[in-house]
Subunit: 394 residues, 2 copies
DNA sequence: GTTATTTTATTTATTCATTGAACTAATTAA
DNA sequence: TTAATTAGTTCAATGAATAAATAAAATAAC
């Protein structure tokens, strides 16, 4: 258990000396020496020069051997899929993106995905790929160990992604809701610690959230936590297909934004956009400061902010990250809007506990999260000895 | 750590044999023997007859010695306070209720409270009271180890309840938001387990929630989690003093219900109630099936249900308990309403993961929760040896 | 330049919780 | 009466963490 703790510290990618780790964990220096020795024997950790500061013996830097184990991460989206190869230190080694032909049957997509995975595995034969993590659009529920998609992705219901990948590659495959792995990814990049409470809001075609509590992913009883897209912010608002009214994602998903903007165009409002425009068109228009597009985008951000207000009041998390398509349109404007609305609507004593971040523009966070999922799930097996590490390369 | 695990199982109040505990914890029978031996030496656990079932040697029943340690629980409310004495098994030994004169200064209330605590401690001198748990109306924030009330209880801001009690009784004092200890209480009575995710909704003068995740209380970064009273269910609804609009508690707190009913009376609607009626009057009227009172109460329950819908979507908890004043008015009608609204508004795949319970009519849950808070916080110190148990009585 | 001080890391012996295996105890079914 | 079954204990062995002493390597002070 302490091994896991030490490794979690080192996995942040930063370098630490034994003494620093001892202080961070509260364990004795002797214990750290022992644990690090084990890790070095397993090839998980290596020394990386010394650091001189002040007087006293210089500290020896330690870092994980990122190439000791490799992992695949897959992000399956409605429009494309991403496959990436990651090191133990969550560093991206190589990645690929493929657009999905909308006419393409899920089974064929899966075959193409498998082909790409093979390529990524063959890319480096020296280091072994030991597990695969898959991020899929939520929501879904687990039923008798099978994953059943619920909305928007229903044609995939009969495709057993996990099983097929496991059969093909004979390694462990883990699957999660995309918002959940997004949370894992930020939890890692912000420096995982056991007190962290973080909510990653994936504002894309739908709106979902991944929740980190106590440094761990909280998925709820049946794995559907974070379905904030169906949180009502207007109890008598428009009916949603989930049965609820005034659902958050009716106001601020990319789908909602596209719909409302097209309506505005139909009403004859001036814009550089044409009727029938896609979300990508709108995104471009916002970047070109098209007045109507910016206006509508800001409105969507305001509604999203109401959702954030509710999350802060309910969770009082230390961090909220807003990511995915909607955030990528204009992270700055989004952040400004969220800050304005939260300052207006949350008691200052409560608000000050939470830092709000607009996700990076590139969408790789979720892909990396898929890789981290695989690492997180796999490592305990190695540390507990339930599974032995593959032979190290010579 | 395993000691804590074993004690947590026994603290449910049920009786277990060593073999059963071994199975439940996954530990070896020998380990359980050792741990139970220690507990018996400390007087924490005692044997209680045998149980015969099927073939094989009869199992020896074990149970916590509820009288080995005693605890005080205090529930401080706006209108009254409760003080209770509890055993290690969370059993209530004796309790007292005192109404607070609204003209009474907080300091005087505290003095009266201290007097009652003395009486409860003197009630049984054979068993030692080792800690006090205090439940206060939320929300509050901790600032430099001081607790600062935020709304509705502001005149208590300068009263250092924790410090005063600690000074007076020279034992540990723990303080929590009342909704949080309500959650602790139900977590206990439903059988604590490390996977439980439970939300206790305290619908009283305000609306707050206590959140159990992973069997533990989740209080957020700064301790303000569960402020669902200020969750907006109508983004353009009426302005709340918190700055938000359409806050849940504007629709379904006892204060809101009282206000809206008095408005209806003023408008001339028929009812047995008179203008200026209090929440207690309304509660009685509902119990007497006064049409207007029932109608307004049901409306409040519907709004509360919207909040519950949002909680289910966000948390996917295994249990939601709705308690406090509002629930006590008519738990059956409340439950029926919540079930109707949630079935309407939550996807069935998600809803089926959550059991919804209307709190018991008596309001002792929060008092007991205060006691459990003290027990929970105190026990680790005893088990880790940081603090030694008082001498057992002869 | 020597010595004292500080900080890092390791070695060694010790402690302590847990375990596995053999064992005792007590009960029922055959 | 014997075999089978279940409950619980004993005891030596294991293994992780620790305390204390020590080594190593640096700077500061004289």
């Amino acid at each position: 258990m302490n091994r896991a703790l030490v490794l979690r510290i080192l996995r942040t990618g930063d370098q630490y000396s034994r003494a620093e780790i001892a202080k961070l964990t509260g364990l004795q220096p002797a214990t750290i020496t022992n644990i690090i020795n084990d890790f070095q024997k397993l090839g998980l950790v290596e020394e990386a020069g010394e650091i001189r500061e002040g007087r006293g013996r210089n500290a020896i830097c330690l870092r994980v051997n990122g190439d000791r184990l490799h992992f695949l991460g897959i992000r399956l989206s409605r429009k494309y899929y991403l496959v990436g190869r990651f090191g133990l230190d969550s560093r991206e080694i190589i990645k690929k993106k493929k657009y999905i032909d909308t006419n393409c049957a899920p089974f064929d997509v899966l075959q193409s995905l498998i082909k790409e995975c093979h390529e990524l595995i063959d890319y480096d034969r020296e280091h072994e790929v030991v597990a695969i993590g898959v991020a899929v659009p939520g929501p879904y529920v687990r039923k008798q160990n099978r994953i059943v998609m619920m909305t928007g992705f229903r044609d995939w219901q009969e495709v057993h992604i996990e099983e097929e990948l496991r059969k093909e590659f004979q390694i462990k495959v883990y699957m999660e809701h995309d918002a959940n792995v997004g949370a894992l990814s930020y939890n890692w990049s912000l420096g995982a610690n056991e007190n962290r409470s973080l909510i990653y809001v994936a504002a894309g075609q739908g709106v979902g959230a991944g929740i980190i509590i106590g440094g761990e992913l909280f998925i709820g009883t049946t794995g559907t936590s974070g379905e904030i897209g169906h949180m009502s912010i207007a109890y008598d608002g428009p009916l949603c297909q989930c049965g609820n009214r005034g659902c958050l994602e009716k106001y601020c998903s990319s789908m909602a934004l596209t719909k409302s903007l097209n309506n505005k165009i139909r009403e004859g409002n001036y814009t550089i956009l044409k009727e029938g425009c896609s979300f990508e068109d709108i995104s471009d228009a916002v970047k070109q400061s098209d007045r109507l597009a910016v206006e509508e985008y800001e409105k969507a951000c305001e509604k999203l902010s109401i959702g954030v207000v509710n999350l802060i009041n309910a969770f009082n998390p230390d961090t909220i990250v807003i990511g995915d398509e909607i955030a990528a349109v204009d992270p700055e404007l989004l952040l400004k809007t969220v800050q304005r609305i939260t300052e207006e609507r949350v008691l200052p004593e409560i608000l000050e506990g939470t830092e709000i971040i607009a996700g990076k523009e590139d969408n790789d966070e979720i892909l990396r999260g898929a890789g981290i999922l695989a690492i997180n799930e796999m490592l305990p097996d190695f540390l507990s000895g339930k599974r032995s590490l593959p032979e190290p390369e010579v």
